[in-house]
Each structure stands twice: as structure tokens, then as C-alpha cells.
């Protein structure tokens, strides 16, 4: 272990200073390094390279010396460290808070020096990058979306925290759509939906697939405006309709606590129901949004939709009636079977009947 008394000169900018603080220095806290030999060292981690950390420690003051504490920077080999417990930094937290009007700029400033720390366990670099990329996506500019895509890719490939990597994967899918690569995003979503178990990624993948199936459904109906009359189109319509709904409802049903994504899914389902002429079901999804996710972006759309419906549609609100849960219906009693027909088309017919525009 080599020692030097001077501070590292790599981190001289304001951002670097803040990040350095975020990662290691704060007024009230110090970083602790846990070493393989059982030793714990308290100080400030100031830099990282492929092989070692630069670690600033406070030297013992000679008795009676009232001056400022002397510090020394030591180099600690990475492979000698089990983990680092980083201290908190209120200043960086302030910059990253969603109340900060300059969050995009400040997160971007923090992100650059944070990048080298992505792979270091317990470092907050991935979180900084995620916040920065989300802010970039929020602007709606394609150049920002491209930058967000890069940031998400960086986090996805390097972050120490698997959850952050998965969140980045989900962000990357959105960034791909925002940069005009929806087709590739959907293909990847399809693969991810079958392979991943990560909720964040699954939510995004299902949403993308629902969007694609809805578009296909709309296209199918556009090309076949009388699809109910076409026995070959009816099953395809049913397939797309059901897939779109199941996928839109994935988040509200399984991850309903994710307000933005759930409301987005419910609004998608509501649109599909409305498109299929099932306004009662569309209304219920809109009511879900207003009741459960009133603060989300789509709530105003849902509200307008409910207001646009005729009173006879909105008159009944099951949520306002005290309902006794019905037992699960028993299977169909076959005492009154239909007359045999040459080919049973009942599924197609019933689907067509239900989906007929009112």
C-alpha cells in the first residue's frame, strides 16, 4: 500500500467535488472500507481505478496541536476489499430530488464523474445515471432520447446492482421506442417477456407488446371493417384483442402499486375495450384510473373519457354499490345443449357479438 499526503487531482470540478462528496465525503459521515484481513478503515474514498481505490484518511493529531486535521491518501488494492460502506451526501440528494427544477442539468453533471463507479458495489452511480436518463426521456427530444439510450446501455452493462441493471433494461426499451426503433424494441420485449422475471422489464415488455397488438388490431379492423362477418378474421381479432388486453392489464393486476405504469396499462385496456365497442368495460378501466391513480398523467384523459360517455352508460357504478362477492360460476350445465350444427362456431360468434360496435 503506497501513501501520499496530497489529495487526488482527478476530481477538481464542482461536479466531481459533489460526486466525491456523494460517494464518500459528507459533513457527518465517513466511508468505511471492509478489508479481507478483517480490518475496517474509516475515511473518504476519493477515486477508483482498475486495480485500486484512492482512500483519504485522517491522521492522528499530535497532542496540543490545534490546527486542522492532516489527511493522507492511500491506495488500497481492489482485491483486498470486501465492500465499502459509502456515507450519505445531502447535497447530492438535494440535486437529485425531483423537486429540483434543474434536475436534468444537475443529474447530468453528477453522471459524468459517477460513471467509473458503476461497477463498485453499493455505489450510487447507477441511480444517478437512471435519474439523468429518465429526465432526458422526459424532454421528448429525440437527441435527448439518444443520450438516454446510451446512459441506460451503460448502466445495463456495468451497474453492480441487478435491480438497477434491470431498470436500465426497461429504460432502454423505452428509449429505443423514443428513438424510432419500436420494431426492435418490440422484438426484444417479446424475448424478454418470455425469459426475464424482472418486474420492471416485464412491465415495459408487456406494455410494448400490448401497444403492438393494439396497433395490429386496429389495422386488422381497418382492413376488415366487417370482420364479424369473416369467420377467418374473427379468430385473429379475438387473439389480438385478448393479447392486447392481457398485456395491458399485466401491470395493473400484478404490479398495481406502480402507479404510472398501471394507469398507463389501464388506459390502454380502456382504449381497446372502447375500440371493441365494450364501453362498459372501458368505463370500468377509466374508473380504476380515477379511483386508484388520480395523480397520474392519464387521469385527465380518463376523466374526459368518462365525461364524454352518455349518462345511461355511466349511470351504474359497481364500486358504489355494495356487492356481495359471487361464488365462481359453476361449469355450464349441459341439460339444454344446442342443436348440433355442422361446425361449432360458437366461440367466434360470441366473440364477434361481444365486440360489435354499439
Amino acid at each position: 500500500m503506497s501513501r501520499c499526503i496530497s489529495r487526488s487531482s482527478n476530481f477538481c470540478s464542482r461536479a466531481a467535488a459533489i460526486l466525491c462528496g456523494f460517494l464518500c465525503v459528507c459533513a457527518h459521515g465517513q466511508d468505511v472500507i471492509f478489508q479481507r484481513n478483517g480490518e475496517k478503515r474509516v475515511g473518504h474514498v476519493t477515486a477508483v481505478s482498475e486495480k485500486a481505490f484512492r482512500f483519504e484518511i485522517q491522521l492522528s493529531q499530535p497532542t496540543g496541536n490545534p490546527g486542522p486535521a492532516t489527511t493522507a491518501t492511500v491506495s488500497v488494492p481492489r482485491d483486498s476489499i470486501i465492500q465499502i460502506e459509502f456515507a450519505e451526501d445531502p447535497e447530492a440528494e438535494r440535486l437529485l430530488a425531483d423537486t429540483n427544477p434543474n434536475r436534468l442539468r444537475d443529474a447530468g453533471t453528477l453522471w459524468q464523474p459517477a460513471m467509473p463507479w458503476l461497477a463498485i458495489p453499493r455505489s450510487p452511480a447507477a441511480r444517478i445515471g437512471r435519474i439523468y436518463a429518465e429526465e432526458l426521456l422526459r424532454t421528448g427530444k429525440s437527441s435527448d432520447a439518444r443520450e438516454a439510450l446510451k446512459v441506460f446501455q451503460e448502466i445495463e452493462s456495468k451497474a453492480w446492482d441487478e435491480e438497477e441493471r434491470m431498470t436500465a433494461k426497461q429504460g432502454r426499451l423505452r428509449a429505443m421506442v423514443a428513438t424510432g426503433n419500436a420494431k426492435e424494441a418490440i422484438q426484444e420485449a417479446l424475448e424478454l417477456a418470455q425469459t426475464t422475471e424482472n418486474p420492471t422489464v416485464l412491465i415495459e415488455a408487456n406494455f410494448l407488446l400490448a401497444e403492438a397488438d393494439t396497433e395490429a388490431l386496429r389495422q386488422l379492423v381497418k382492413e376488415n371493417p366487417r370482420w364479424q362477418e369473416d369467420s377467418l378474421v374473427v379468430p385473429e381479432h379475438a387473439k389480438l384483442y385478448n393479447k392486447a388486453l392481457d398485456q395491458y392489464l399485466f401491470c395493473p393486476v400484478f404490479y398495481g402499486s406502480n402507479a404510472a405504469a398501471s394507469a398507463r396499462g389501464l388506459w390502454g385496456a380502456s382504449r381497446v375495450y372502447d375500440f371493441a365497442g365494450e364501453r362498459d368495460k372501458a368505463l370500468e378501466c377509466a374508473r380504476d384510473i380515477l379511483s386508484m391513480y388520480p395523480a397520474t398523467d392519464v387521469a385527465s384523459l380518463a376523466s374526459k373519457y368518462v365525461e364524454s360517455l352518455p349518462k345511461k352508460v355511466t349511470a351504474s357504478d359497481p364500486d358504489k354499490e355494495s356487492l356481495t362477492p359471487e361464488p365462481t360460476p359453476t361449469p355450464e350445465e349441459p341439460t339444454q345443449p344446442e342443436k348440433p350444427k355442422k361446425k361449432s362456431q360458437s366461440s367466434k360468434k360470441s366473440h364477434a357479438k361481444k365486440s360489435t360496435k354499439k
Partner: protein, 942 residues
Amino acid sequence: MRAFLILIFFVAMPWSFVRLSLAEESSALTASEYYQRGREAFNAENYGLASEMFERLIADFGESKEASEAIRNVRFPYALSLIHAKNFAESLGAIEQALSLDPPLSAPEVRELKFWLGVANLEEKDYATARAALEGFVALFPPGAESNPALRRQFPEAMKIPEARLLIGNAWQLEGDSAKAAEYFREIKPTLIPENRSRAVVLELHGLLEAEQNDAALALVEEEFPSMDAITQLITFQSLTLELGNRWLEAGEDRKAIRCLQRVWTSERLLRHQQAQLADLRTRLQAAEATPKSDPYTKFLLGGLVRKVEREIENFEKIPSFDAAVRLRLASAYQAMGRLREAALILEEMLARLPADDIVEQASANLAQAWFELERWPKVLESSAAFTKKFPKSKQRPMVEYLAGLAAQKAGDFDAAIKRFSALQEEESDFAPRALFMLGFTHLLAEKNSEAIADFEKFGRRFPKHELAGAAAYWRGMGFSMDGQHENSRKAMDAYLKKFPDGAYTGHAAFRKAYSAQQMEDFDTSIRELRAFLRNHSRHEESSSARILLGDALLNEGGIEDGLGVYADVPKSDTTFYEEGVFKSAKALRLIEEEDRLLVLMQDFQKKNPRSPRVAEAISEIGRVYRQRDDPDAARKIYWDAIRKWGNDSAIRSVDELFSALVKLYRAEDERAEYLRLLEKLQKDSESSGDKFLAMRTLWARAMALQKSDPETSRSLLLEAAKRAPVESTNPRLLADFANALAESGNPAAASAMFRDLLKWNPRAPQKAAALAALGFAEVESGKEKPAAAWFERFQKECPPNRSTGRVLLAMATMEEKRGKHVKARETLESVLASEFSTGPQKAEALYRIGAIHMAAGHPGLAVPYFQRIYVMHGRWKDWVAKAYLESGKAFEKLHDSDSARKTYQEMVDNKDLGDLPEFGTAKSRLEALEGPRPSATPDAG
């Protein structure tokens, strides 16, 4: 709930209490010895012994002046010993005495004891006093002492302030004022550090639930959810959220229940999170312990939290089926709202992911039912398979299997349904009779009548008293009827009616008996039984059908007027039978030459049913009567009137048929000219009156009339009509004519667009096959084989064989050959041969091309029979015959069969009809090359 509260309290208490140890036997000691032993025990944390020594010292030497200093010195440790020994009742007096000392104890000692005074009162259930004591303790410190490092150094007991505050809230709670407790926790939350804040949140939620302030509790759950990971006692918080969800569910507030339940994590996630939290707390504790100057309260707090989380995890791991219970409640909430899809998605996830237990088993059985309700047949089959795999011995399995059989049947997969029902009816279960019944019914659907009859007979033998026995007996008779065994059907129906006189199918059985009699041409019986049926079941669903049958029988037996009367009784609401009755009546009137009545009947029908697809039939009938009466003008008038009246209504498509019938009333040349003039006039009139659709129809009718005599004008009229035709409402017959005209005028793109519109707006039009074929050929023409293949595939898949089939198949084979798929091409060409709609030239071409494929593949032996079939079976098509002879000869040459080759070439050159074809010369040359014709074996008789 009280037990829970006590649990929370102790979990919240970060101090550990040591066990009481057996007090050491002590005989009479000196004051100094009591004091010494007491201090030693106290320092060794043997608080039971310490308190005993101190107590004896006070009891034995309390009055002694010499011991007064020692007694004063033990007041503080004595009180603390009692506290640590959990002897709270005794401690109260000890604390009071210590606090009343004069001179008083040191300020830190006073602060310490005031805190414990509150705790002891709390333990002794004197909550108001406890609260007052703890509030008094907090009041001893300057504001913010617990968070200000400098003040904390000055007042080390300040570290107990947060605990005191939490205990004050607990006191409210224990006192029974949960609302006040919740309010208090809400109030103090902002003053607490995150770790203590999270404890206050849990206690606040508990208070709200106790106070039944469920809306406030829901608000708290939602408010805290975004930062829920920061709650140290997360498992407790989540358990309370689940309890809240239950309450809403029971109250029928399903959305509120969902809002709670969807915020409850899975047990795996909860445990993973809490274990990570525990690891994090331990690391932080280690870091704090490694830092010499770290805040002692931090160490103390972290140590307490570690123990709390450890205990929470330990308790949580003992809860069985946590996830299943949460999921089932969530599904129930959706189901109560009528949201079966959402419920089914949750149940599906339970079946797929949760370990098998009773809850998951019931949920999975419900899943199959939910998908069945939603008519998601593939999902029923999937869930059934998964259920059987996961719960092979479940009592619910037969029900799930039965649903799967029904789903397969509904999806039209009769073979799969039969297989399932067949297996299920063999098992011993409540569903065996139903499965056997459905086996028979599915056999009927699959048109396997004899199997169905056998199934229903088996049902009668095995389950004669089952509720479906009557239905089985009836459907056995239906099986005979569908199989054309009418005598047996009648017997079976008689047996049913005898055994089940009040059965659900008595009406159906009576009707079917009469029907069978009529099929057997026993009209007396059928008339008698149909009349009885109509008398006894006048509103039966088969009554209209019965009236038609009875009418037919009566007419057949010469009861014309009776028959007409029965037809007239068919209600108009039963449209198909009503119209059938009307036109059967018309036919009868025509046969008995009652033309006036026929005219009245048809005119009445036309008037009352202008939108019927059979209105053109009625008008044609009227026209025919007038023609027979030698009154063509009246006949024409009826058509023109109808065209003028209904011609602008695009929905009445039978108008287009009227033009086709009307033109036949103008046969002579001058009449035809008059027809065209009238059409032109009608077109102008309708244009000036704004009847655009009629004007378009008239243009088309003019084009049709001129199609043979003036094709060019006809085409230009069609092109004009095409411009005016709204594709969404125009008759597909007209659209097809427009598209063909566009194609003939050199505008294939517009023609294709028109055909596409035809398909788009008329998916079941008779012109569908022609449209698909035309679209395919248009793509072939423009060299786009991939889209062409797609159109042709649709043609094959969606259309029954028709007159375009041969041409389409040949085109498909060409494309397949181009892609090098010779085997597939050969199969396609074989299909041309198999199609009854293929023309002779198409078959000849197919044969020739199959032969050519074999030749190219180096199999001349396989090619020869195909070539030979052309000149043997399709001799009319000279072009193909010539080619076939030549190729056949070449094939023989390749086979080194010169004799056969020579014979083949000779046969060709002998056929004078082929002399002008290019292959003729080649054949002749080959013949010469093979050294002339071989001498005939038998001398020519001529």
C-alpha cells in the same frame, strides 16, 4: 389485536432484559456487605440479586444513621435493578423514593429515572400516569436535544427521547384511544430520524386500524408506499396493509381492497428485502462500531433494529400460504367487480408460480371456470393441463377435465373433446355421467351419429336415474333422426315421452316424431302429430318450422287452402320461416293458377319487406304473372316502380337483381333501345334529384345491357360508375364488374384497389374467390411473387374450389418451380388434376409440367405416363398433345428405348391434326434420326 400491540411494543423496545437468576442465599450481612454484593451483582447485570441486596440493605439498615449514605447511594441502582429485573410494580416505589431524595440525585440520574418511571407505569397499565411521566421526561431537555450532537453529548439521556415519544403514543394506544395514538404518531413523525419514523408509521397504521379509520389508513398506506423500503418493520406494515385490504373486501369496497392488496409484496420479495435490510443494518452497525467517534445512539438504535428485523423475519417465515392468500383476495376483489379477466390473470399466475397447496388448488380450479366464462377456450385447455400436472390427485380434477372437454368442443376440436370425455366417463367421479352425455353430444356434432346413439344408450344403462337421463334419451332419438333412421327415431322419442312425460324435451320430441313421419312420407301421421304439436306447444321454438312442415304435408295431400292457411300463420318475426311460407304459398298459387291471389301475395310481400333479399324474387313473380297475361308493360312497370322507389337505398341490394330481370323483358332490338333510353333517363332524373346511388346503379345497368353489343361503351360506363360508387355500401357484384373494367382499361392498380375494397367491405361475398385470384394475378403480372403467393394462399384457404382454382394452382406451381421447390410444385400440379373445376387445357398443362419436372430431375420413366395421359385423355388440346408426344419420345430415348421412342414419334407424325404445330418437324427429324419407322410386326391389312 391486543396481543399484536404488546408484540409491537416489545419489538419496539430496544432494550434487552436479562433473565432473573436465582437469588443467592444470604444470611444476615453487614450494611457494607449488602452494599458491596449489590454493586457487584448490578455490575454483573444480575439485577435480581442486586435488587435483593439493595432491598435488604434498605430494610435492615434504613433507620441506621451510619448506613444513610450507603442507602442514599443505592436508591438509584436499586430502582434500575428492579426495572431491569422487570419488577415494575416494586420499581415504581423505588423510583419515587429515589426521586424524592434530598439532596436530590444528579440531574442525569433524575432524567434516567423519569424515563423509567414512564416505562414502569406503562407496564403496570397506568397509561395516563405513564404518558405524563414520559412527557415530563421529554420536557427535561432543551428542544432538539435528541438530534443535536452537541446537546446529545451534554444530555446523553436525550437518546431516549424518541423512544419516550414512541412510548407516549403506545400509552394512548394501550389506554384504548387508538385514534389519539394514530394522531400522535402522525404528529411526531416529522421530528424523528428515518429509523424511528418508520416505527412511528407502523404504529400509526396500527392505531388507525384499531380506530377503524380505514380511509385514513388507506391514505397512509398510499402515502408511505413510494418510500416503503425505508420502513424497517416492513413485514408488520405489509401485514397491516393486508388486514386493511381484507376489511375493504368484506365491506364490498373492491377498488379500495385492490389498492391495499396490490401494495402487498410477495413473501419472497418481502423476505429478500428484509434480509437485505438486515444485512445492511448489520453492516451499518459494524461500520458504526468501527468508527470510534460514531454516535452511541446510532449504535444503540441499529442494534435494536437488527433484533427487530431478525424477529420479524423469523415470525414471517412461519406463515403458510401468505402469497396465495393475498393473491386469492385480490382475485376475489376483481371477481366481485365482474372483472373476470383480471381475476383469471391472477389465478393463472398463482397456478404457474405458487407451490401447490389447498388455496392454490381451489384457485386453479376457479381459473378454468373463469376462462370458461370468458370463452377463452385455449386458455381453458392450458389451465386444465397445468392443473392436472400440478394436482394430479385433486378432487377437482374431473371438473377441470370436463371443462377442458367442453372447451375443446366449443373450439370445434371434436376429436380432442371426444378423447377427453371418453377418458373421463370411464373414471369414478361425479363428472362421469356428464362426460358420457357430452361424449354422445360431441359425437353428434362431429356427425358420428351411430357412436352418439351408442353413447346415449350406454348412458341410459349406466345412469338411469341421473338428472341427464331424460336428455340422453331424447338425444338418442335425435341421433337416429340425424342418421336418417326415422322409424327408430320415432320409437326412441316414444320411449322418451313415455318415460319422461314432464321432461324438458317433450315438445322437441313430439315435433321430431312428426318430422320423422313426414320424412317417411307418412303424411297422415305427420299432419295429425304436427297439429297436435301446434295445439299443445303453440309457442314452442319449433312451431314455425312445424307450420312449414304441416303446410307442405297438407299441400301434398291436396289440402291447398288448409296448407296456405298454415303457411300464413307463420309469424313475421320468424323471418326465414315467414319468407319461406310466403314463397311456398306463391308456388302453390302458381300451380293452381290463382294469379290474382298470387299478385296480391307478392305485392303485399314487396310492400311490407322492401329490404328482404327475396324482394327481387317477389317482383319477378309479379312480372311473370303480367307477362303471362300478355301485359309486358305492367310487368316492366312493377320493376321500374320498385327500382325508382328503392334504387337509391344502398342497403337494398336486391335492386341490382331487378335490373338483371328487367332487361329480360326487353328482348327485341327496339325494346332494348327503349330499355337503354329509359335507363339513361332514369340516370339523368336521379342525378338531378340528387339520388346519386341510383344514378350509379343505372350506369352499371346500362353497361350490363351493352356488354355484348358495345363492349367499349359498356366499359366506359363501368369506369364512370366505379368513380361514383361508395365502396363500403355498393353491391360486391358491381364492384367486381368495376374492377374487371379497370383491369381491362389498363389500370391494374385501380383494379386491385377495387378488388381489395370488395374484400374489405364484403368478406363473405360470392365474388371473393374471383377477387383474390385477380389480386394474385395482378401481382404476378407486376413480377411481385411474394404478395402474389399470399393472395393465392388466401384463395386456397378461404374459398371452396371454384372455376378459378385451376388457374390459380397453375400460377402457384410456376412460382414454386421458380423457387426450386419442385416437389411442392408437383403436388400443386397434382391438385390441378384432382380439382373438378379444372378445365381440360389446365389439366393437360398440369400433366405436361409434372412430366417436365420428372424429366428435369432425370426420371424419364416417371415422366412418360404423364405425357401419355395428355394424348390419350386430352387429345382435343392439340398444342399440349404435340408437346406431350415430343417429350414422351425424348423420354423413351433417354431410357434407351428406341422402339418406344420411334413408335411415339410415328404416332405423332401420323396425326395429321398436329402437322401445323412446331413440334411436328422436330418429331419427324427424331424419327429419321432413329433410322425410320420400324417395320410393323404384322403386315398391314390394307
